[in-house]
């Protein structure tokens, strides 16, 4: 009985002492309008990866998430605090998934920022929540113009403060393909096939607009459905417009079927074929029928580029990736996610105040730091405009001359476009 009372007394005194220590030390900084996150001594700084890691788009989301993992490893600690990304969250590549995942994120008050989403549809539903909660989200692969701005100073319908991205804005890619086709290749009549995906539909529409603005004609604008295998009908529909080029930003396997079956369609023998970054993957580039295809996409010649914050180059990253995960990345946006992660960590570092080992990170401060950020990433120079477009807007077009050597094909740049 006596001993118990004794221990209670000791515990009480200890608690008092702790309170005294906390009060007696330096004052914590005043929180900004969005509040601040307090990270106790020895605790980890919480960020999250929020990518499409399941389902048919996981070939895009998984390299994104691994990019985040490797960037956290390379960046090291921030003012003595380790960084944790917890369990990778899944955006399910859908609005439903985006909203629910965002709910998971904002319900944890320790999370400062998010790297994701993989899909634009998910970002649109996630951002209202993320923005309201004062968090930031940086995406490595959202390209929808609706998420940022028209690049001429007008915010788009789904823009919310706190949204940033290192991927390019699709307004450019559509324009880049149109200019390449019209000016470089002399194309005047184009057929377009999308697959009903938000992304391919947006890019196809952007291309159509830009191509027609230049004076070209889009004779047939049509679509297949995901899961279709027989492309005879759609290609016949395209052939009926007697185009001299076909633009199709579809994903494998649909684009594989298109490439394999186009040879048997009368009138499509000499048509120039252009795909986009969705098909800039080994799975398509290596089939024999992919020879001669053009692909627009982000500049993927980042081998020698170094991230100025970690000193890691594209080649270093790839070898680390392969030794860790036993395979090469299946989509090119790992670099964008890697740079996005270092951006976020740098912004946290810049806006953090250390008070006796406890870190205070001001949420508004993180946004300010991101708005002002300037660094060299694997993807090239990174600075953010007023609506969160931070990446290099350089679009390249490659021509696949060597399906047997995919790496060489990816390096074979025939056109560059910078707005």
């Amino acid at each position: 009985m006596k001993r118990k009372r004794m221990s209670t007394l000791v515990a009480g005194m200890l608690a008092l002492a702790l309170v005294a220590a906390a009060c007696g030390g330096a004052e914590p900084p005043t929180a900004g309008p969005l509040g601040q996150v307090e990270i106790a001594d020895g605790e980890a700084i919480q960020i999250r990866s929020f990518n499409a890691i399941t389902g048919d788009v996981s070939f895009l989301g998984i390299p994104n998430q691994r990019g985040v993992e490797l960037a956290i490893q390379d960046y090291g600690e921030i003012l003595g605090h380790p960084i944790s990304m917890g369990t990778g969250l899944d955006d399910l590549c859908s609005a439903d998934g985006g909203q629910a995942g965002a709910q998971t994120i904002v319900s944890d008050p320790q999370i400062i920022g998010v790297i994701g989403t993989s899909c634009s549809g998910a970002a649109g539903a996630a951002m209202p929540l993320i923005s309201d909660a004062g968090l930031v989200m940086i995406s490595g692969s959202n390209t929808s113009p609706a998420l940022t701005s028209d690049l001429a100073g007008t915010a788009a319908s789904d823009y919310h403060p706190g949204y940033y991205r290192t991927a390019h804005n699709d307004l450019f890619q559509g324009k880049a393909v149109a200019q390449f086709a019209y000016n470089e290749l002399g194309m005047r009549n184009a057929g377009v096939i999308h697959d009903g995906d938000l992304y391919t539909f947006g890019l196809s529409s952007a291309f159509q607009e830009a191509f027609e603005e230049l004076g070209g004609e889009v004779s047939v604008f049509t679509a297949v459905n995901k899961g279709d295998t027989d492309m005879t009908a759609v290609l016949t529909e395209i052939a009926a417009g007697s185009p001299d080029m076909l633009f199709t930003p579809t994903f494998p396997p649909e684009i594989n079927f298109i490439a394999q079956q186009i040879g048997g369609i009368a009138g499509m023998e000499d048509v120039t074929l252009i795909g986009a970054d969705a098909s800039l993957v080994d799975n398509f580039l290596e089939i024999p029928e992919a020879e001669g295809w053009h692909h627009s996409g982000p500049d993927t010649r980042f081998g020698a580029n170094q991230n100025s914050l970690t000193g890691v180059s594209g080649d270093d990253f790839l070898s680390a990736y392969e030794s860790t995960y036993g395979e090469a990345p299946s989509a090119p946006f790992w670099a964008h996610s890697y740079d996005a992660t270092t951006m976020l960590l740098k912004a946290i570092e810049d806006s953090a105040t250390d008070v006796d080992g406890t870190l205070y990170v001001d949420r508004q401060g993180v946004r300010d730091a991101l708005n002002a950020i300037s660094l060299d990433g694997i993807i090239g120079p990174i600075t953010c405009d007023d609506f969160g477009d931070c990446g290099a807007q350089l679009i390249t077009v490659i021509r696949n001359d060597s399906p047997s050597d995919v790496e060489a094909a990816k390096q074979n740049v025939v056109y560059e476009f910078a707005p």
């Binding site: 899944d90 859908s94 609005a95 909203q99 629910a100 709910q103 319900s107 944890d108 549809g121």
Partner: protein, 590 residues
């Protein structure tokens, strides 16, 4: 184990099955992926839980005796332990064969997850260079011990066995529900406690022991809660029974109303989604469970409701955008929902059960593809969907997906409405007509029931409920895309109805909670987000298991359950009330 002797053939067969299950779990990458998720810090990962859970279970089962009337019952002996250990050992050996095979041959050309990385995980070694023989032995040893433990469970008292199961279960559940538990604790300002219990989402050792002890204690208490409720609900008098069901539902409702403010926004979100699926489940229950019409395209009505509401409220609706407040759209949603119900219902009204299934499935796809198509894009936005849907204006605020607590209230209100409609209809003239029609349509018709009107009314009521769900869904999401309305949703709703217990309102609720709330829907996360990509695989296993073990559903309709366990099951002939002989007759190959 007839005559108390070991049935070695059964032991070997079970052991091989255990081995196959473990190899399969490894080969699909579950062990490796789940290994990242610790359950108890430094002791157990979810990966090894997934790998080994089946060992003690199978080892226990192998000692089960089929007790028939008049047979001599043998008391369990130490042989149970030996049999269990043997089962575990055989399984472990099969698994270690896999380890060596992966090392000797490169199987990744076919089985992508059989990588050196897996061997590393399985053999507890740092490098994958050579098979760690000690690691393999440990693997077999663990498996054997777990098998022996499983077999040994026969030797202990029923009470102690239950306590052991509860102990393990409590630890796993508390670790897996980390998200929820820590959020509840935070609501009460106990952030420090969260840190004391969990590290990296896993239980720390001391709290794990405390939780285990609690589980042990709870497991030791006399069971009865569940069976008492069951007994309470199983009143032989039908009106009493429904009244009692309603009472239980009311209690659940009160809990649900208080819940969001205690559970936090994440759980409210999950509850809101569950509510929307439950609403659709209740609607489909009217069509399938009451009227016996197998509708595989139910998502079409959900889509129609969502798009109607979106077009009328969103400023970005491409063709027609009156920007009404959400409330005003409800009558329109109801009317259009009813019309679409009639439109789908009339052509299929003369079709037999399975023809009905594929035609409704077709209608579901037609609706989805139409909303998706470029042809209809000038009206509905095509693949770009309709964005900037403003949410529900409530005077003081506009409720959208950012306020899952309020969305949950709306979902709960609609669910109550649907439950009330179901209840009222079932006990009305229409409901009796449905029952008669489900049992035998011809007889029903001769008895003077207007089957056309009955069928159509089921379609219309179902369609209205689903389209109301769609209207709420669009306000919640803020933007809708055709991808939200795929065929899989129709199938999942049907599964909710049947796994829960067809024809029973509480059953459907149980189905929705388990399948959507806990596991998560095809594009909706549930409580157990850990299962992530393996969700649909687990769904499949649960479905098959449920149908084989408990075909009447979680909370069965008393009447249907009686039918199912009746000898002349085949006479029930669920759909279209066609006796099975006739079915076979018209299905003769040409």
């Amino acid at each position: 184990m007839t005559n108390g002797q070991l049935d070695w053939r059964k032991v070997i067969r079970t052991g091989l099955l255990v081995g196959v299950v473990m190899v399969f779990t490894s080969a699909i990458g579950m062990v490796e992926d789940f290994d990242e998720r610790p359950v108890v810090v430094g002791i157990l990962s979810l990966g090894f839980l997934a790998l080994f859970w089946y060992v003690p279970r199978a080892a226990y089962k192998v000692g089960d005796e089929e007790v028939l009337e008049g047979m001599e019952v043998h008391p369990p002996t130490f042989q149970n332990v030996i049999a269990g250990a043997a089962v575990g050992a055989i399984g472990g050996v099969v698994l270690s064969v896999l380890v060596f095979a992966v090392n000797a041959l490169d199987l990744r050309g076919v089985f992508v997850r059989l990588s050196p990385q897996l061997v590393k995980t399985l053999t507890f070694s740092e490098s994958a260079a050579d098979p760690n023989l000690a690691g393999v032995l440990v693997l077999i040893l663990i498996s054997t011990v777990l098998g022996a433990v499983g077999g040994g469970l026969h030797l202990v008292s029923d009470k102690l066995r239950r306590q052991i199961v509860f102990t393990v279960g409590a630890v796993v559940v508390v670790a897996l529900l980390e998200d929820v538990i820590s959020q509840i604790l935070r609501t009460f300002g106990l952030s420090a406690l969260v840190r004391a219990i969990y590290r990296d989402a896993a239980l720390r050792l001391i709290p794990a022991i405390v939780v285990a002890a609690l589980g042990f204690f709870v497991g030791g208490r006399e069971r009865g809660g569940e069976s008492r409720i069951r007994a309470y609900l199983a009143d032989p008098d039908p009106t009493q029974r429904t009244r009692k069901s309603l009472f239980v539902a009311g209690v659940v409702l009160v809990i649900v109303l208080v819940a969001p403010w205690v559970l936090g926004s994440l759980l409210s979100e999950i509850l809101a989604t569950t509510g929307i699926f439950l609403l659709m489940g209740l609607g489909l229950n009217i069509v399938v469970g009451f009227a016996g019409l197998l509708d595989l395209g139910y998502v079409a009505f959900f889509a129609v409701g969502a798009y109607t509401s979106a077009v009328l409220t969103s400023p970005l609706s491409p063709f027609f955008n009156p920007e009404w407040p959400w409330w005003y759209t409800l009558p329109v949603v109801i009317v259009i929902g009813a019309i679409s119900g009639i439109f789908v219902g009339t052509p299929v009204i003369r079709l037999r059960g399975d023809y009905l299934a594929i035609v409704t499935l077709g209608f579901g796809e037609i609706v989805r593809i139409t909303f998706l198509s470029d042809a209809a894009a000038p009206w509905f936005g095509g693949a770009g969907g309709i964005r900037n849907i403003p949410g529900i204006p409530l005077g003081f605020d506009t409720i959208s997906g950012s306020d899952p607590e309020y969305i949950m209230y709306f979902a709960a209100a609609l669910v109550v409405l649907a439950a009330w409609v179901s209840y009222a209809l079932l006990n009305s003239r229409v409901g009796r007509a449905w029952t008669a029609m489900r049992e035998d349509e011809s007889v029903a018709e001769v008895m003077g029931i207007d089957t056309v009107r009955s069928k159509l009314s089921a379609f219309v009521v179902g369609a209205i409920l689903a389209s109301l769900g769609g209207a709420l869904f669009s306000a919640k999401l803020g933007s809708i895309f055709p991808t939200s309305f795929e065929l899989l949703i129709s199938i999942v709703i049907l599964v909710i109805v049947i796994v829960g217990g067809m024809g029973n309102i509480l059953g459907v609720a149980a189905g929705a909670v388990v399948l959507i709330g806990v596991l998560g829907g095809p594009r909706q996360p549930g409580l157990l987000q850990e299962f992530g990509e393996f969700k649909l695989l687990i769904y499949g296993v649960i479905l098959v298991y449920m149908m084989l073990q408990r075909p009447e559903g979680l909370i069965p309709n008393i009447r249907r359950s009686r039918e199912l366990h009746h000898e002349e099951l085949s006479q029930d002939a669920w759909l279209g009330a066609t006796p099975s002989e006739d079915t076979a007759g018209e299905g003769a190959p040409a």
